[in-house]
Symmetry: C2
DNA sequence: TTGAGAATTAGACACAGTCCAGATATTGAA
DNA sequence: TTCAATATCTGGACTGTGTCTAATTCTCAA
């Protein structure tokens, strides 16, 4: 799926067992057409850009549904809000702590050596690597 | 420093350029004597166990001060609250998503291969690995 | 057309964390 | 010791995410 529009959004939702309603299509479109990490508040602002159509409760309900159906992922890097990520491929993140901007790091080609055994009775749900970055200090510069 | 008590807490604080007040000593003691990851709320409850002595504002101010002086670290794994970690050595975490419990993973012996170059103009602030775990499903068990 | 189940809604609520202005404690010079 | 300057602490109002609920609206099969 190269180009995202509201029609193939409906197909995408159906493909994940989600009944495609107006609001759900708009929310999915906001995330997938941008391929960016957005907070719930940003999604609501985007979806209600022209005239308010979608309530806060629906935004949160819908995001929870999408998570449940593995259509999106959540990214927890900021203590004050969750980001939603339309990329469910295995990947990691750069997080710019100054700007709050997230960038994907493809997990293909990355390996982690030396992780200890898991404690008894648990299994891995996922492994996240977060590389926190900030603008360089440039000591020589006046 | 093997055993933590309120006296060597004062020394620890001074060693990090922090003026050791009553409240600060109690908060540091709560974190260091347990060597655990506590939320602000848990810290406040611990410190005010017997009789209320320390206000919410002071708990938050103090934790921010400790972070600033590199006495503790924050761990961001739960969308609803921040955990504070008395271990500032380089290390990573297991996070049990069912219980909310955090366990340290020593970073010595762990290496990450294949991370891409940093974008221009930024430097690394830190690399966090979070292994999210959950109780095993045991399909055979009745 | 109808009505039952699904989805959406406004707005009250919960709760972590912030902010502020006044109260209190500490310090050091005289 | 005393005073004043500074540092710290405090209650309580406030903010911003996110949740909950009861009422409304939509959808679609019969």
């Amino acid at each position: 799926m190269k180009q995202y529009n509201r029609d193939n959004m409906a197909d995408l939702l159906r493909g994940h067992g989600i009944n495609p309603t107006h609001q759900r299509i708009e929310i999915a479109y906001a995330l997938f057409s941008r391929q960016q990490h957005l907070s719930a508040e940003q999604i609501m602002a985007t979806v209600n850009d022209r005239h308010s159509e979608t309530s806060k409760a629906t935004v949160y309900n819908t995001l929870k549904l999408f998570l449940d159906k593995n259509l999106i992922r959540e990214v927890i890097v900021d203590p004050s809000k969750v980001f939603y990520d339309p990329n469910t491929q295995n990947h990691h993140h750069f997080y710019n702590t100054a700007s709050g901007h997230l960038t994907d790091i493809d997990a293909a080609g990355i390996s982690i050596l030396g992780l200890p055994m898991l404690p008894e009775g648990v299994e891995t749900e996922g492994v996240d690597i977060i590389v926190r970055i900030r603008p360089s200090e440039r000591p020589g510069l006046v």
